[in-house]
């Protein structure tokens, strides 16, 4: 792992190198990555299409969108209600303004409880606030128990997808990691054996952990309940066995009542994995009650703002509707070609390209190019189960971005608009364009142009006649 060359933003990954464009070029060179992403994207697409044709996913989208918009509009009161009900059921609620505050609280808690081992189930919010690094810095062993996340932890990598983090690795790569971790050569590369091995190794951690940390898919204000959706069962063990359970959530992930929760709990797996149900949905209201033998003694809900609150009332408010299903990633031609790690942020794909610079700030070198890494095709908006107009948000995000590149472009477009708002200068410039092509063309094609137009001709020829000759 190498250190970052620029930027010290709070969201960007610590081992991200180079520019965004350089990372996409590197990703384009990897045929294994391309093959894995294609398989993943296509199998998701088929499953999702099945949901649309047989289970009525499309009809559910409008209601899901309205629910989430309503949630964001009423956010302060819903959070107050959630807090009050969690406390009434014996839980502790902490409102953290940012990741630093959240980490400080959780590390402090771990120290006070004398913890040595922390078992974690998948949580994008904890990636965002860099909780693992904070806990490890305080001398704790942190184990990701979601199979894909554990694999990545062993590989020293960051997730490439919100739902299926290790989607870019194949079984031989995984077997090698397991052998190294266990110090044994006899682990076979077939999927069943790999899963069986992981099961036993991670059970050791469930048994040892004093603290379990989970994310939250949605929180229900009316009863103070957090919902955790998963397929493997590790979140259930993380929230059942350790004495302390800490749940970390982005502040926008709250719904009003069980009617709304039921609808979203149906839509989420349909959009995320193309199934009508996830294997396990865990609904947790405070710590264990008197007389219960399993379950944590303490329940702590850490609600992170981290820049989200500031988006309410702005042109980006709809981005807060996101339920982190990952559908936009799977549907995006960019993500499907270069994968999630090229984005250099916990949140990749279209939603990541929109919110990362919003949470980091428009001039942050780590993320300001992200909204430009999109052809604005709109597949994300089509896929989004809560109807976020991601393609429009990307354009708005571009207008907000501030960098040397955007300032140069601003000057160029100013000149362009001066010429092209008057018919005479417009016709002159288009005629000159046609002339330029004629002059530089050979056999009906232009193969290179100078200056900024080089970026076009580095990849494509330009026909000097239309329709083009062969």
């Amino acid at each position: 792992m190498t250190r970052p060359r620029r930027g010290t933003s709070t969201v960007a990954y610590g081992d991200v190198t180079g520019t965004l464009r350089e990372r996409t070029v590197e990703a384009l060179r990897d045929p294994t990555l391309a093959a894995n992403l294609r398989t993943a994207g296509e199998s998701w697409g088929e499953a999702r299409d099945h949901m649309r044709s047989e289970y009525g996913l499309d009809d559910m989208r409008a209601r899901a969108r309205d629910i989430r918009r309503g949630n964001i509009r009423r956010l302060p009161e819903l959070l107050t209600e959630l807090q009050s009900n969690v406390r009434a059921n014996g839980g502790v609620v902490v409102r953290a303004a940012d990741g630093v505050e959240a980490c400080r609280y959780i590390v402090g808690l771990a120290r006070e409880r004398g913890a040595h081992v922390v078992a974690k189930s998948k949580s994008m919010a904890t990636e965002e606030i860099k909780l693992n690094e904070a806990l490890q810095g305080a001398g704790l062993e942190v184990v990701e128990t979601d199979l894909g996340e554990w694999i990545l932890q062993l590989a020293g990598q960051h997730p490439s997808h919100i739902i299926a983090p290790a989607v870019h690795l194949n079984r031989d790569q995984v077997a090698a990691l397991f052998r190294e971790e266990a110090g044994r050569d006899d682990i076979p590369s077939d999927r069943e054996a790999l899963v069986a091995h992981a099961r036993m190794r991670l059970r050791e951690k469930f048994a040892a952990a004093e603290i379990g940390i989970s994310g939250v898919n949605i929180a229900v204000a009316s009863t103070g309940t957090v919902c955790i959706v998963e397929n493997e069962g590790n979140a259930r063990l993380v929230t059942a066995l350790p004495r302390v359970h800490v749940a970390v959530m982005g502040m926008e992930r709250v719904v009003a009542d069980w009617d709304e929760a039921a609808h979203l709990l149906q839509v989420l797996p349909m959009a995320a994995i193309g199934q009508d149900a996830a294997n396990y949905v865990n609904l947790i209201t405070g710590p264990r009650r008197e007389g219960e033998q399993d379950g944590p003694d303490e329940f702590h809900l850490v609600i992170v703002d981290g820049g989200r609150g500031a988006l309410r009332g702005t042109e980006f408010e709809e981005a807060l509707s996101c339920i982190r299903c990952g559908a936009c990633l799977y549907s995006c031609p960019m993500w499907r070609t270069v994968g999630g790690q090229a984005y250099g942020s916990p949140y990749s794909g279209p939603i990541g390209a929109v919110i990362t610079p919003l949470l980091e700030g428009p001039s942050s070198p780590g993320s300001r190019d992200l909204p430009f890494m999109s052809s604005l095709c709109g597949a994300c908006h089509e896929a989004c189960p809560v109807g976020i107009p991601l393609h429009d948000l990307l354009v708005r995000a571009r207008a907000r971005a501030s960098s040397p590149g955007t300032r140069v472009a601003g000057v160029a477009f100013r000149g362009w608009s001066l010429l092209w708002r008057h018919p005479i200068t417009y016709r002159l410039s288009t005629a000159m364009g046609r002339l330029l092509l004629r002059i530089r063309g050979r056999d009906g094609w232009v193969r290179s142009l100078p200056g900024p137009a080089r970026n076009w001709t580095d990849q494509r020829d330009i026909p000097t006649r239309w329709p083009p000759r062969r």
Binding site: N279, L283, E292
Partner: protein, 192 residues
């Protein structure tokens, strides 16, 4: 919790959905329920079962039927430590027996509620999962199940687990593999 007797349509819907979720089930008369459950457990080669201490499970006489089938029934709350519960020590081929409070027909989901007699992780810590479900606890939709579970005036349970089939992982090459952490099998005894 119990309401109207289950209709054939609802029962069919539930059985179909369970099969889709890769769980198995059998519909039995009450008098046959304990025998059916004990037989399924013994057929897995299991020698130890952890049972929720629940009126449904006691009521059909499952503990005795298990002993008769050569399976040691341990009632919740147990004296097993965490390592034994997880199968790291002692037999790792344990079956967890639960008594769902409700089931959702359209999704093939059983709803498990934590209680002093019903550990929240009995099924997921074990390798196998048997659920004993009175048929009149089947409702059609998730919305109905959640509305009942969190009905106003009812204390919210500390943990509710919506279980829809055995544990899966799709993380290795994006192809679904069974049994990453939770139970590898799920069988529902639907008691008429």
């Amino acid at each position: 919790m119990a309401a109207a007797p289950v209709t054939d349509r609802l029962l069919d819907q539930f059985v179909t959905a369970l099969t889709r979720r890769k769980a198995s089930c059998e519909v039995v008369a009450r008098a046959d329920a304990a025998r059916a459950g004990a037989r399924w457990i013994a057929d897995r080669g299991v020698v130890r079962a952890v049972l929720a201490d629940d009126p449904v499970i006691q009521g059909i006489g499952l503990p005795d039927a298990l002993r008769a089938a050569g399976v040691d029934p341990i009632m919740w709350p147990t004296s097993l430590g965490r390592r034994e519960q997880l199968g790291l020590e002692g037999p790792d081929d344990v079956c967890g027996v639960t008594a769902p409070a409700l089931a959702v027909a359209e999704r093939g989901t059983v709803v498990l509620e934590a209680a002093p007699g019903h550990g929240r992780a009995i099924d997921v810590a074990s390798r196998h999962h048997l659920a004993v479900l009175p048929a009149d606890r089947i409702v059609e939709t998730l919305g109905e199940a959640l509305a009942r579970t969190y009905a106003p005036g009812r204390a919210a349970p500390s943990a509710v687990s919506l279980v829809s089939g055995p544990s899966r992982s799709s993380d290795i090459e994006k192809i679904s593999t069974l049994g990453a952490h939770g139970a590898l099998t799920e069988h529902v005894i639907i008691v008429l």
